[in-house]
């Protein structure tokens, strides 16, 4: 029994001894909403609220990042989670530039990368048992039914899944799609000018989104 469940049970016991205790049957997970959402950056909080969604990554849900610069969107989406104590499992490209992730604000001490093309489903389920955010790139050989089973197992284990790119026909709960990109520069006054960041126009949709939205997102 995890300490959260233990705390929940102790709280239920304490409340049941209270004079209004007979009204308390049990404390379900839904009564502790703060524990369900994992923190995301300010840019995402605002748009998720506008889209009438909880302002964070909801455990058990699947988020998909597609379109141009989808890796940067996923990195931005998971950034706040790493800084607030959550572990991120990266089951996607082995060639992520970790310096870029650190520049985007990731706490790299809570990141684990798994290379698992062959036993993808088993690895994802095993990793989901201990990390709170799982960034995955779905191999083309994984069938839709196997993918559903895997995602369901991850959801049962209270893990938020962020899928990069196509999902082999499965639909995600929330989809972030970048449609346009503008390159922003730094050191304009100096001789050397470098691309400093990208301003993306991102569309938020998906089967759990009551009100679809567009929002600008600046990523590294």
């Amino acid at each position: 029994m995890s300490s959260l469940e233990l705390a929940r049970e102790q709280l239920a016991q304490q409340l049941s001894q209270h004079k209004y205790g007979h009204h308390v049957v049990s404390l379900g997970k839904a009564s502790l909403p703060a524990h369900r959402a994992i923190a995301v950056g300010e840019q995402f909080v605002e748009v998720l609220q506008r889209a009438q969604l909880p302002p964070g990554l909801v455990r058990g849900r699947v988020y998909q990042c597609t379109g141009i610069a989808y890796v940067s969107i996923a990195v931005a989406l998971a950034q706040r989670a790493t800084t607030q104590g959550s572990w991120v499992g990266w089951c996607a490209s082995e060639h992520l530039n970790w310096s870029a992730a650190r520049n985007a604000g990731w706490c790299l001490e809570r990141v684990v990368q798994v290379s698992c093309a062959e036993h993808w489903c088993e690895a994802v389920v095993a990793l989901a048992s201990g990390v709170e955010v799982l960034v995955v790139s779905i191999p083309s050989h994984v069938s839709q039914s196997a993918l559903r089973r895997t995602v369901l197992s991850a959801a049962v284990q209270q893990c938020a899944v962020v899928a990069l790119g196509p999902m082999n026909g499965m639909s995600a709960d929330v989809v972030f799609t970048a449609t346009q990109r503008t390159w922003l520069k730094e050191n304009e006054l100096q001789e050397q000018v470098a691309f400093a960041s990208q301003k993306l126009s991102v569309h938020v949709g998906g089967r759990r989104v009551p009100s679809e939205q567009h929002f600008p997102l600046v990523v590294g």
């Binding site: 995890s2 300490s3 959260l4 141009i68 610069a69 989808y70 890796v71 940067s72 990195v75 104590g85 959550s86 572990w87 499992g89 490209s93 082995e94 060639h95 992520l96 530039n97 970790w98 310096s99 870029a100 650190r102 520049n103 706490c107 790299l108 001490e109 809570r110 990141v111 684990v112 990368q113 798994v114 290379s115 698992c116 062959e118 036993h119 088993e122 690895a123 095993a126 990793l127 989901a128 048992s129 201990g130 990390v131 709170e132 990109r181 390159w183 520069k185 730094e186 050191n187 050397q192 000018v193 470098a194 691309f195 400093a196 960041s197 990208q198 590294g220």
Partner: protein, 470 residues
């Protein structure tokens, strides 16, 4: 009072041996001398005090050890007063190298400190600094004041002084010593699968390690005993001078369990009892506890998940980033297997990913903070062309000789919308073998449908695509 003979050890080296053969060798040696230690994947330590008396001298024991060699494996043996000298002697030996009792310090005096990197848990940075300070041999390190070394290198300095002087931090066990900490568990349903046994060992050692960490200690000599329902026993002594972290000890127990299960005699029942006996501890650095005390629950859960996923995909496929440094923006971090790092100690994990204090800042080739998101590995050979479809060149003073107009990648021609740079990098100019001189450029290219941001690099007059801004 104990003399030099009390701490004599033989290091048996079996170069190129595989895990199964190493287990067979260890079992054969156990019949000659109990309490042996598996040092690493090719060295076994044998305490000499008892066997020398029984067989009548060190050479007689060495003959017995040579007879333990598995088929097609050649053993070399080094006998000395301590681990370090024994390991070096075993490496230098044609067959047998005996350093007489009391002469170990003399033997080590002329040994290059670079040998320490292979046999002692000491960082390359420390060794590099020792070299630059003129302490190029173990003798010079041992002759330096212990206080000075401790001031400059901290606990590593103390350790180096002791080892270079020919002594051991923890002399090899010649007899069973009293237990410091003990954890044991019986299982009603016997454990059959390797992963289940490992998970049970982890559940046993995790609270033990947490308790020790609370006292700023780490276990450095542990006896792990596994017993089956039919009373088959596997007992191994594990030693690490710097102290074990959880993953490190589990990696050794994994070897113990796997090789035990693969033994030719075969096991007839599952494991029903596991015992962990801590016989020595070492102090560790202080760790700042979290605001609410202890370690976070999510860290412990993540460590369990990492062990679990390593069982599925293999240990080397579960990796964590580690700071490497350098001036190549695509290689500042490197992925290292998670089982080789300490994930349990918060300060160690933070240290692992924190950029070094000598990280270069504001230098002529600095590209700022905008690192590309995905590396292209291995780099793809491309052609950067000017308006006349001739290769773009960069002068020795880092000026682009003609404007890049096109980039050819896999026979596709991309139009260069804009470009920035070049940023020069000259790495390791002092090392003729590893020196590198390159220039990098950011290019915004158009494939007719959308724009892509690329980081390209020129090295030895060849252009490479090294990373993309995704």
């Amino acid at each position: 009072m104990k003399n030099h003979y009390s701490y004599r050890v033989a290091i048996v080296r079996a170069a190129g041996i595989d895990a199964r053969q190493l287990n067979a060798l260890a079992q054969e040696i156990t019949a000659i001398a109990p309490l042996i230690e598996i040092v690493d994947d090719e060295h076994v330590l044998v305490p000499m005090r008892g066997p020398t008396r029984y067989f009548g001298g060190e050479k007689a024991v060495a003959e017995q050890l040579f007879s333990c060699a598995p088929e097609h494996v050649v053993l070399t043996i080094g006998i000395a007063d301590g681990r370090l000298a024994g390991l070096i002697a075993a490496r230098m030996a044609q067959l047998l190298f005996v350093i007489p009792a009391g002469e170990t310090a003399e033997f080590l005096a002329n040994i290059d400190v670079r040998h320490l990197e292979q046999f002692v848990d000491v960082s390359a940075n420390t060794l590099s600094l020792l070299f630059r300070l003129g302490l190029s041999t173990c003798g010079k390190v041992a002759a330096t004041s212990k206080q000075l070394l401790a001031d400059r290198f901290g606990p590593d300095g103390n350790m180096l002084h002791t080892l270079c002087g020919g002594a051991d931090l923890h002399p090899a066990l010649t007899e069973k010593i009293p237990t410091l900490y003990y954890a044991e568990s019986d299982y009603e349903e016997s454990l059959v699968a390797v992963e289940t046994v490992l998970a049970s060992v982890q559940q046993l050692i995790a609270p033990l390690m947490e308790k020790l960490q609370g006292e700023h200690l780490a276990m450095c000599r542990v006896v792990v005993t596994l017993t089956t329902e039919h009373d088959d026993i596997s007992e191994r002594v594990w030693y690490s001078a710097a102290g074990f972290h959880e993953q490190g000890l589990l990696e050794r127990v994994r070897w113990q369990v796997t090789t035990w299960l693969e033994e030719s005699s075969g096991l007839t029942a599952g494991v029903h009892n596991i015992a962990v006996n801590v016989q020595n501890t070492v102090p560790i650095g202080h760790e700042q506890p979290r605001l609410w005390g202890g370690r976070s629950e999510s860290d412990a859960a993540a460590r369990m998940a990492i062990a679990r996923v390593a069982g599925v995909v293999g240990q080397d496929h579960v990796r964590v980033p580690e700071w490497r440094g350098g001036r190549d923006i695509t290689r500042e971090y490197e992925l290292v297997p998670a089982h080789r790092v300490d994930l349990a100690r918060h300060d160690a994990t933070v240290h692992r990913v924190t950029p070094g204090v000598l990280r270069p800042a504001l230098w002529s080739g600095d590209m700022g903070q905008h690192a590309p998101m995905l590396n292209v590995f291995p780099p793809e050979k491309i052609e950067v062309l000017n308006c006349h479809h001739m290769a773009v060149e960069v002068s020795g003073r880092h000026h682009v000789r003609s404007e890049p107009q096109y980039i050819r990648r896999n026979e596709h021609l991309f139009l260069v919308r804009t470009w920035h740079g070049p940023w020069p990098v000259e790495e390791r100019w002092w090392d003729p073998l590893r020196q590198r001189r390159v220039v990098r450029m950011q290019c915004l290219v158009d494939d007719g449908e959308q724009e892509h941001g690329w980081l390209v690099m020129l090295e030895h007059r060849t252009w490479w695509l090294v990373a993309v801004y995704s």
